[in-house]
């Protein structure tokens, strides 16, 4: 019978199944960071349990780490969380890319970079954006701390089989339209909870034409549509990315693995529980205006009005969001001014993201009313960017160039947007207070955020030519 990649990977990982129970699934890769793991390790210690497969775990520090003046952490509670992870990894024998390690970075950036992320794997992490790794054709999903403890002690999880969903992106992307715009458009069109209970496979011509980095941006935000996970069937692009990566197989082993990976792709004729489709041609550069990722629109449009919604609860949600965001109904998106620009996060802080922002920034200056920072997704990305001179371009334009980490995506460290101020951000969440209490976040692509830094307000990046073109 024709199967989707979702069913193939799921079925290959069932350790035990029984009517009336979730399936017991084997987990191939467990990524760990400092914020959602301490209580899990503590639980192990209290119960006198071991880590079953430390060789299948990999840890890093990203959420809490400072992005300047390393290695000093001013905040004593944050520091305790960092040293706790160090101790836990040492005690339980888990590989750790610590704060100053060359492999350090945001957990969802370093997994693929190191080749730990591979097609066909089941991958978990105590972090909802674990869906990023699905770009390789893996089932990758975020879990809570109790589940982290469960995986540490058993290398398995009880999971009810999710429904399957296809989101097909047909046609080709227009000039200036990026993967970020595509996923924001998908969430705006279908809603913040459309994926609940589902694993999504993204298909279609636009996806096939994307690089791995673009595919990661798409899969990263699956959770913002409520999906358990999002993935893309592997193809030559996937194989080419993985060849030569540190933890990928080598030589003849790689060729064998590659064949296995390609065979995972969804079979012709396989069916999904739900199918959605979006036409790439209708997508323009996107910006959010509200307090969840579905509240967004094209840059040529305006902030919605109450009459655009049918239900009272939607009208009420609009009112609450606009009050928080301090925006007027019907305001053109290009009229909104920003004080902060953040280029970073697991959604958009890979080398190609920094390149696309740098291209717009080169030869220009950050607007005098804007504070702009670039936070590379990993130390490797930072080094590659510096080797190409991207850091000079940003610094000369007036951006700050920082060390890698989650930074202003969730503002757990010192990188905070002050109350009442507005930030153009390449991250994935615009919830109330996400970038600091009272802060106002607008999500967009790296190119759009770079353009906003230059102009001091949102502009359609398609109207802005590179200065040195």
């Amino acid at each position: 019978m024709a199967k989707t990649i979702i069913e193939k990977i799921w079925d290959q990982h069932i350790v035990y199944e029984e009517e009336g129970k979730p399936d017991l699934l084997y987990i191939d890769l467990h990524l760990i960071h400092e914020v959602t793991s301490p209580q899990a390790f503590e639980g192990l210690r209290l119960a006198g349990r071991k880590v079953r497969r430390p060789d299948l775990c990999f840890a890093t520090m990203d959420h809490n780490v400072p992005t300047k003046n390393l290695p000093v952490i001013q905040d004593p509670i944050a520091k305790k969380q960092i040293t706790t992870l160090e101790k836990n990894c040492e005690e339980f024998g888990i590989q750790l890319a610590h704060m100053e390690h060359p492999d350090q970075g945001i957990v969802h950036i370093i997994g693929p970079e190191l080749g730990l992320t591979q097609p066909g794997k089941t991958i978990v992490c105590g972090d909802s954006h674990t869906s990023t790794h699905g770009a390789f054709g893996a089932i990758a999903f975020g879990i809570g701390t109790s589940e982290v403890e469960h995986v540490l002690s058993t290398q398995t999880l009880w999971q009810s089989k999710p429904k399957t969903m296809e989101i097909k992106i047909s046609g080709q992307l227009g000039y200036g339209v990026t993967a970020k715009d595509v996923i924001l458009a998908i969430i705006a069109k279908f809603g913040i909870d459309v994926g609940t209970g589902h694993i999504v496979e993204y298909t279609g011509e636009a996806i096939r034409n994307m690089t791995m980095e673009e595919r990661m941006t798409i899969c990263n935000m699956s959770i913002e549509a409520g999906a358990k996970a999002g993935l893309i069937s592997p193809d030559e692009t996937t194989i080419n990315y993985l060849r030569g990566k540190r933890f990928a197989p080598e030589g003849a082993e790689f060729d064998k693995a590659a064949q296995r990976w390609l065979d995972l792709a969804t079979d012709a004729g396989a069916t999904y529980d739900t199918v959605l489709e979006i036409d790439a041609n209708e997508i323009e550069p996107f910006v959010t205006w509200g307090t969840n990722p579905s509240m967004g629109t094209g840059i040529s449009k305006h902030v919605p009005r109450a009459e655009d919604y049918a239900s009272d609860s939607d009208k009420e949600a609009l009112k609450k969001a606009l009050a928080y965001m301090d925006l007027e109904e019907g305001a053109p998106m290009t009229s909104i001014a920003v004080q902060h620009v953040f280029i970073g996060s697991c959604t958009n802080a890979r080398l190609s993201d920094l390149r696309s922002a740098a291209k717009l920034v080169e030869g220009r200056k950050v607007h005098p009313s804007v504070t702009a920072i670039v936070v590379p997704g990993s130390r490797t990305v930072k080094q590659q960017a510096e080797a190409e001179g991207l850091d000079r371009i940003f610094i000369e334009a007036g951006f700050e160039w920082r060390e890698s980490g989650c930074s202003m995506c969730l503002a757990m460290n010192d990188d905070v947007v002050p109350a009442g101020e507005r930030c153009a951000s390449t991250s994935n969440r615009n919830f109330e207070g996400r970038q600091g209490a009272g802060s106002r976040t607008h999500l967009m692509s790296p190119a759009m955020a770079a353009a906003a830094a230059i102009e001091g307000k949102f502009v359609d990046v398609r109207t802005l030519q590179p200065a040195h073109a």
Binding site: K80, D127, G144, N292, A317, F431
Partner: protein, 194 residues
């Protein structure tokens, strides 16, 4: 984990859709390395004004809702971050039951690991409960064994729940100990996939 079966309490009506885990527990409170002590930070930025003073308008700050154990909210409760600090804060504050038309997947899972009962009712039923709870205090008796929510006015709402998770909650089982009983299966799997 503490077993849970019958919970009697007034309901707290939180008439919002898409309540995300960033609102339930804000990131500045995630630095603790313990599982406890998060209750006082629950909905912190809704319970407080930007200057740090108490926001008396927010439902949780109204005196009649003190000691309530049942929270009622609108669709897609618990969306966003996977942080288990969200159910820890809910639990630590004193809630044992959350009722909503729908929950985000990770939050829903996290509830079962902490002895919190998430109940899905229809949108109409939840709106009815929210209206009753907003009009005056409204007391319910939640019965997990029978899968019902019985209101003080005689209205009864029944709900579905996965039988596996129902047993876990009723018995307060530790899932890891349960899984250890499948050690043989795990070893077999590892042998086959070595």
């Amino acid at each position: 984990m503490k077993p849970i079966n019958i919970v009697e309490s007034i309901i707290v009506p939180l008439n919002r859709k898409n309540v995300d885990t960033d609102q339930i527990i804000s990131k500045e409170f995630l630095k603790r390395i313990e599982r406890t002590g998060f209750g006082k930070y629950l909905f912190y930025h809704w319970r407080h004004r930007p200057d740090g003073s108490r926001n008396e308008d927010f439902v949780l700050n109204q005196p009649q809702f003190e000691n309530a154990k049942v929270l009622v909210a609108h669709e897609n409760f618990g969306c966003g971050s996977s942080r288990e600090h969200a159910p820890w804060a809910i639990m630590d504050y004193g809630f044992q039951v959350v009722i909503a038309p729908s929950f985000a997947d990770i939050f829903h899972n996290n509830c079962f690991k902490n002895g919190i009962l998430p109940i899905r009712l229809t949108v109409e039923e939840v709106e009815e409960l929210l209206a009753k709870g907003e009009q005056s205090t409204y007391e319910v008796k939640v019965n997990l064994e029978e899968q019902t929510v019985a209101g003080q006015d005689g209205a009864t709402y029944s709900f579905e729940i996965d039988p596996y998770y129902k047993q876990m909650l009723l018995n307060g089982w530790d899932e890891i100990s349960l899984t250890f009983q499948y050690e043989g299966h795990i070893q077999n799997y590892e042998k086959q996939h070595a």
